[in-house]
Amino acid sequence: MFGYVVRRFFHLIPTFIGATLLAFLISQLVPGDFLTQRALEPNVRQETIDRMRAQFGLDQPVLVQYVRWMSSLVQGDLGMSFSSNQPVMNVIRRPIQNSLYLVVFATVMLWLMAVPLGVFSAVRQYTLGDQLVSAVSYFGLAIPNFFFAQVLVLCLFLLRSFTRETFGFSQLLFPVAGMTSNGWENFTPWHQFWDIMWHMLLPGFVVATASIAGFTRVLRGQMIEYLGSDFIRTARAKGLGSRSITYKHALRPAIIPFIAGIGALLPSLIGGAGLVEIVMAWPGITPRLLDAITRQDIYVVLGFLVISSLLLMVGNLISDLLLAVTDPRIRFS
């Protein structure tokens, strides 16, 4: 087992180098850098520009820049942000944290919603309920995340104007923008935590819906297959209750592919969360990334790319390991 982990870990290194190189090359596609913009300002002298260019190493060939950047990256240094004059790490840490909160929350929500739905529609195959679940999952598949978020926000506003007129209740049911309430810094830690959870409900729900469809459908198929297999018949013949058969005997093997899927889920969730972040003003990666791109703050952009791809690879690794732990049929070779 330990050998397997180590091997898988070393397997990541060439991929990581390749991904960083690709990201770096792409960032070089545009001639000119953030200093080209600054050079247009009348009160900046050419010498200053040249000095800064040398200071940031922008006068070197691309490969040299890459090697320099890479070697400091290995030491945990992502370079400096041009526009805010701070280490990149300081700039990108909070957005990445915030995005992770949202994605992890959405994953938990996804499992909480999709597993019962999948089991339900497998057990009640071809009933009205089953068809309803598949209709809803088609809906979730087809609606763009950000549009769904916009619609929910609109619904909340309409609901508010309704409750204001009938009950004089003029609060929004859920917060629709941002991650924290006003004066969050002065809350107690416990209160702070709940405030973030409270703000996360709506965007988390929206991000989760996109993946529910696929999840439920595959789980349903898997469950139906296992429910018709021989070991289930044996279990029934022994006189086991249907609850125990469904959850202990059929669900366990049926759920295995999804454990492997967690790693693959993360990138799609991070991507899907991006647009929702914009609509609901969540201070996550995507809004900051867009901002950094328009400022041509190359190292911040690269920092986001590198850290998010690192997270993604680690996510994949973890789900492989989880799979190896949960599925006794997997060999470590």
């Binding site: 690709l22 506003f157 990138p267």
Partner: protein
């Protein structure tokens, strides 16, 4: 479709002969036809594509047409009257002109119908010589399906912040949002098929190289890769743009977005094609072709590639909705084809989150989401129908 080829006309008791006489395409179509929901999806899609193609004719206004006076920004959908207010009888549909005023409490602009003023009947097949359009880029015309006489205007789905007609823009937007996904799938397919077949056929180092390359592309979250690529490639100073000439035309930006989408999406396809080819390569007919002295290229593209066809068709249909969603998302971020020469549905939805817009006062700005939803839903339905139709185990 010739009627005498259908099984009912053949002598009874010979079903095997009937089955022998059918091509695969025919069997698949017959299976697909039994899948009613998928058929509905296909019909809706056809209608949507037709509407996009004939957008100029169906839309009462041009894509970027608007007037500063009288002000028409954020106008709600125009009320169309079907009955005569005096007699209560059904009449020819007509509209009134509107005047705008400020709500004293919310400071929102409110539009009020001038019911005292003259009525403007909705006219059909109007010529608007100052707003010509082209259909499919070929036929020029100025005939519009409907319209009203100035100064009245008919906005079926309201207007945006500049007072552009949303109904017309949704129709024009289909031209971008419905085609970009289909085109991007072809880019992705070309890359995926070529590299997938090559990797599967040669195996060894070449296989390793392509698989690692896909892993590398997959290692960067797709949305971020898309955002970065789209921004950089849309910059007029990028090397590709300079190759085309410094000023990028709308068609080139459009192509650029297609390329970016296709480039980011080909990995999964290549991987599945590769594993298919790996198994097909060992089939007897492939071995036989090799033994008969067929060249590598011939075996690859003449014998192995067609073997993946049915599978590829299904994957393709199911990939298109994904690409549509991605394009819409990119446009929503303002990274798709630009505002001036397109009205991508994503771009239209962007208006609803613009600074200073409170959605509860302008809910009609969310209408462009509905065609996105419909298109993606129908492509999914058609894809599922096709998959079942190709699957011999699900024959009905």
């Amino acid at each position: 479709m010739a009627a005498n080829a259908s099984p009912s006309n053949l002598p009874k008791g010979k079903p095997a002969a009937a089955a022998l006489g059918k091509t695969q395409g025919r069997i698949v179509w017959e299976q697909f036809r039994k899948h009613h929901i998928a058929l509905v999806g296909l019909v809706v899609l056809l209608l949507m594509y037709l509407a996009a193609a004939f957008a100029g004719f169906l839309a009462p206004y041009g894509m970027n047409e608007y007037r500063r006076t009288p002000v028409s920004a954020f106008m709600p959908p125009t009320t169309i009257h079907w009955t005569d207010p005096e007699t209560g009888r059904i009449t020819r549909p007509f509209v009134y002109t509107y005047t705008s005023e400020r709500d004293p409490v919310t400071r929102q602009r409110v539009y009020v119908e001038e019911t005292e003023g003259p009525r403007y009947p909705i006219q059909f097949f109007v010529r608007r010589p100052n707003q010509p359009y082209r259909i499919l880029g070929l036929f020029q015309s100025d005939l519009r399906l409907f319209g009203v006489e100035e100064p009245a205007r008919v906005f079926l789905w309201g207007t945006n912040n500049l007072g552009k007609d949303l109904f017309s823009r949704v129709l024009y937007g289909g031209q971008v949002s419905l085609t970009i996904g289909v085109l991007a799938v072809w880019v992705s397919l070309t890359l995926g098929l070529t590299f997938g077949v090559i990797a599967g056929f040669y195996g060894g180092l070449i296989d390793d190289f392509f698989m690692r390359l896909i892993e590398v592309i997959d290692a960067i979250p797709g949305l971020f890769l898309l955002i970065v690529l789209a921004t950089l490639l849309k910059d007029p100073r990028n090397p590709l743009a300079q190759l085309f000439g410094l000023q990028m035309t709308s068609a080139q930006t459009f192509l650029m977005v297609v390329m970016v989408l296709g480039f980011v999406g080909w990995g999964g396809l290549a991987r599945t094609i590769r594993s298919l080819v790996l198994s097909l390569r060992e089939m007897d007919y492939a071995q036989a072709a090799k033994a008969l002295g067929a060249s590598e290229g011939r075996v690859m593209f003449r014998h192995l590639l067609p073997g993946t066809a049915s599978y590829v068709m299904v994957i393709l249909t199911l990939a298109i909705p994904g690409f549509i969603l991605t394009e819409v998302g990119l446009s929503f971020l303002g990274l798709g084809p630009s505002e001036v020469d397109s009205a991508s549905w994503g771009l239209l939805l962007r208006d609803a989150t613009a600074r200073g817009v409170s959605i509860q006062f302008v809910p009609w700005l969310l209408i462009p989401g509905i065609p996105i939803f419909l298109a993606v839903l129908c492509w999914n339905l058609v894809g599922d129908g096709l998959r079942d139709a190709f699957d011999p185990k699900k024959r009905r």
